[in-house]
């Protein structure tokens, strides 16, 4: 059985809240009922049918045929199933998702994977600010799951991250891993700003180095650790795929001693 497809009719004139379009909420609805779901964010009261041509199918597998930077909250609170976006996506992609898979061919805006606790997000292009990070006032960001970004990420990726893995093939914007509580972030390119600012625990792999490092990170010297080899093999065999630090000589820095100081940054020797 083929999946449920939402074919974009045209570029939306307002931001759309697509959080209702997840497998659990669409199960059992007819095409007509799906088309009547509200998705607009203005007083115009847009529904799914105003924006998309709905082609029926199995709602456990959803495809957005044509993306937009105004398609917000795709896959929010998703627990199972799959979503494919053929194009770009807007803000809060996969926010608070607990399971399933989201794959975006293009780029996404801010807060992708915000507060997610499980599942996999793959982003073919770039990610916006605060990848996996919390919304305003929330105490923790990403709590589990995996995010893989083929391009670069915006500022504050992994902010207040508590668990899970973020892999960025390109560069990281300013202050990656800020206020991390735990979890792992791998950046194949360079890291701008001051990585790991106020991190308590957690691990940052900055495989092409960092723009600056805070003096509250202390150089522990070369780290020829077996665990790095084990981690690289485990990532390669799993959702993350091959990582840039595999086989690379690394040195370890501990910090941020302004706070707890139990985090670590690995840099090339």
């Amino acid at each position: 059985m083929t999946g449920l497809t939402f074919r974009k009719r045209g570029e939306p004139e307002e931001r759309l809240d697509l959080s209702p379009l997840v497998p659990a909420r669409l199960a059992g609805l007819s095409e007509r009922e799906v088309a009547a779901l509200p998705v607009g964010t203005s007083r115009m009261g847009l529904t799914v049918g105003d924006v998309f041509e709905v082609v029926g199918g199995d709602p456990s597998s959803i495809c957005f045929a044509g993306g937009s930077t105004r398609f917000d909250r795709i896959g929010e609170a998703m627990q199972a199933g799959g979503i494919i976006v053929e194009g770009d996506a807007g803000a809060r992609l996969g926010r608070a998702m607990a399971g399933g898979r989201i794959s975006v061919e293009g780029s996404v805006q801010g807060h992708a994977g915000s507060g997610m606790s499980g599942g996999v997000i793959r982003i073919g292009g770039d990610a916006g600010e605060r990848l996996g990070g919390p919304l305003a006032g929330e105490m923790s960001g990403m709590k589990g799951g995996t995010i893989v970004v083929s391009g670069s990420a915006g500022p504050r990726a992994g902010d207040r991250m508590r668990r899970g893995v973020i892999s960025i093939s390109g560069n990281a914007g300013a202050d990656v891993g800020s206020r991390m509580i735990a979890g792992t972030i791998v950046v194949a390119g360079t890291a701008a700003g001051t990585p790991g600012r106020l991190m308590k625990r957690g691990t940052l792999f900055l495989c092409t180095g960092a723009e600056t490092l805070a003096p509250t990170f202390l150089d522990n010297g070369p780290a020829d650790l077996l665990i790095l080899t084990v981690m690289a093999r485990d990532f390669a065999a799993g959702e993350v795929g091959p990582v840039a630090f595999e086989g690379m000589a690394m040195r370890r820095l501990g910090g941020d001693t302004a706070v707890l100081g139990l985090g670590e940054i690995f840099l090339p020797c």
């Binding site: 307002e14 007083r43 105004r70 202050d175 600012r197 509250t216 202390l218 001693t257």
Partner: protein, 370 residues
């Protein structure tokens, strides 16, 4: 006296209200911003935003958000200047912006001494400045200056926190001895005040400084005095919080208030990147420097001193709060709202009157349409 214009031509207030209503009707997502007005004007602006399903934000909220974000994410010890004047025996002035934003506050702290609290009464006051230039202050207060570039201060504060907690730090912009001096200055205080401008250091820098003061309160007493560049933006944020539950950057597009610190920011919406297609801009505050932008979309300008009759599609000239009519305004020195009497008499309508008239008109149109 002309008080309203449509497309740069004089018009009656009634016609201008009608034209403004037509602009709002034609828009998909209005933006109500500027918000340089008093409490009554702010309330009226929020009523209009709810009525027309608008995004609402202060025009200078970007200058406030490093403070708001750091405070709500990590908490903050906050004090009013009047309390610190009477309690603080040590004052640490962090960065260069405080000396540019609020010299009067520093002069007050330098010219007075603590007279409250068992630990600080009669102890005298010592000041320390941490920045790229020393600040000349009157009075007999002892002032120590530590030279440090503004962009290194977040790191330096982190080093002080590490030292206070007994953790190590590497080499930074200040020597170990200088870091020890700052740590001792603060930890030996009966009540320390840390004065800084959050905008200078950004969200993480402000959180670092709030964290330092939180750490100090494990062993002594301390608080911060954040200096904000636009006190009217703080007033708007407080009113927004008790009105909508959120500190500005709110959308009523779907009815209930929805907050997004990025998407609903006025600078994003005014830049043309946003979704707002009609703007209501309020600039009616005594003493505030006008910051009215060139509008990329149809706009309704409600201003005390409009730059030109064609500054927007529809322009209303109104009285300035605290100058032409009595107003209740946020006062940073007092740390809350204060009544400010008018300095002159004026026949001009208030910004609140125009905003209320617009809201009433739109409510009437909505009822007719239903």
């Amino acid at each position: 006296m002309e008080t309203a214009w449509i497309d740069g031509k004089p018009a009656s207030p009634e016609d201008a209200l009608r034209a403004a209503g037509e602009l709002l009707d034609a828009g998909r997502l209005p933006l109500v911003t500027g918000l340089r007005t008093d409490v009554v004007g702010l309330r009226a602006a929020f009523s209009l935003a709810r009525q027309v399903g608008a995004v609402i934000d202060h025009g200078e909220s970007a200058s406030l958000y490093p403070f708001i974000a750091a405070m709500r994410d990590g908490g903050a010890f906050l004090a009013s200047p009047a309390e610190m004047r009477r309690r603080a025996d040590r004052v640490l002035i962090v960065g260069d912006a405080v000396g540019e934003c609020d010299v009067a506050l520093l002069k007050m702290l330098a010219a007075t001494a603590p007279d409250l609290g068992v630990r600080t009464r009669g102890a005298g006051r010592r000041l320390m400045t941490l920045g790229s230039r020393a600040i000349s202050l009157p009075g007999n207060a002892e002032v120590t200056h530590l030279d440090c570039a503004s962009d290194a201060i977040t790191d330096v504060v982190g080093m002080v926190r590490a030292r206070l907690a007994g953790r190590r730090a590497g080499e930074g912009a200040l020597s170990d001895a200088a870091i020890a001096t700052v740590a001792t200055f603060l930890s030996e205080a009966g009540f320390a005040a840390v004065v800084f401008a959050p905008t200078e250091f950004g969200e993480l820098g402000a959180e670092q400084i709030f964290g330092l003061v939180r750490d100090l309160n494990e062993t002594t007493r301390a608080s911060t005095l954040p200096v904000l560049g636009h006190s009217d933006a703080m007033g708007a944020a407080l009113l927004a919080t008790w009105t909508s539950g959120f500190p500005l950057r709110v959308s009523y597009g779907r009815g209930p208030a929805e907050h997004d610190a990025s998407l609903h920011a006025s600078d994003r919406q005014l830049s043309g990147e946003g979704e707002a297609d009609v703007v209501v801009f309020v600039d009616a505050l005594a003493g505030a420097v006008s910051q009215v932008p060139v509008f990329a979309t149809p706009a309704i300008l409600i201003a005390a001193d409009p730059a030109a009759p064609d500054a927007a599609r529809v322009v209303f000239k109104v009285a300035a709060a605290g100058r032409d009519h009595d107003g209740v305004l946020y006062n940073a020195r007092f740390g809350s709202f204060v009544a400010k009497p008018a300095e002159t008499t004026s026949e001009l309508p208030t910004a609140a009157a125009i905003l209320d008239a617009l809201a009433d008109q739109q409510a009437g149109r909505g009822a007719e349409a239903a």
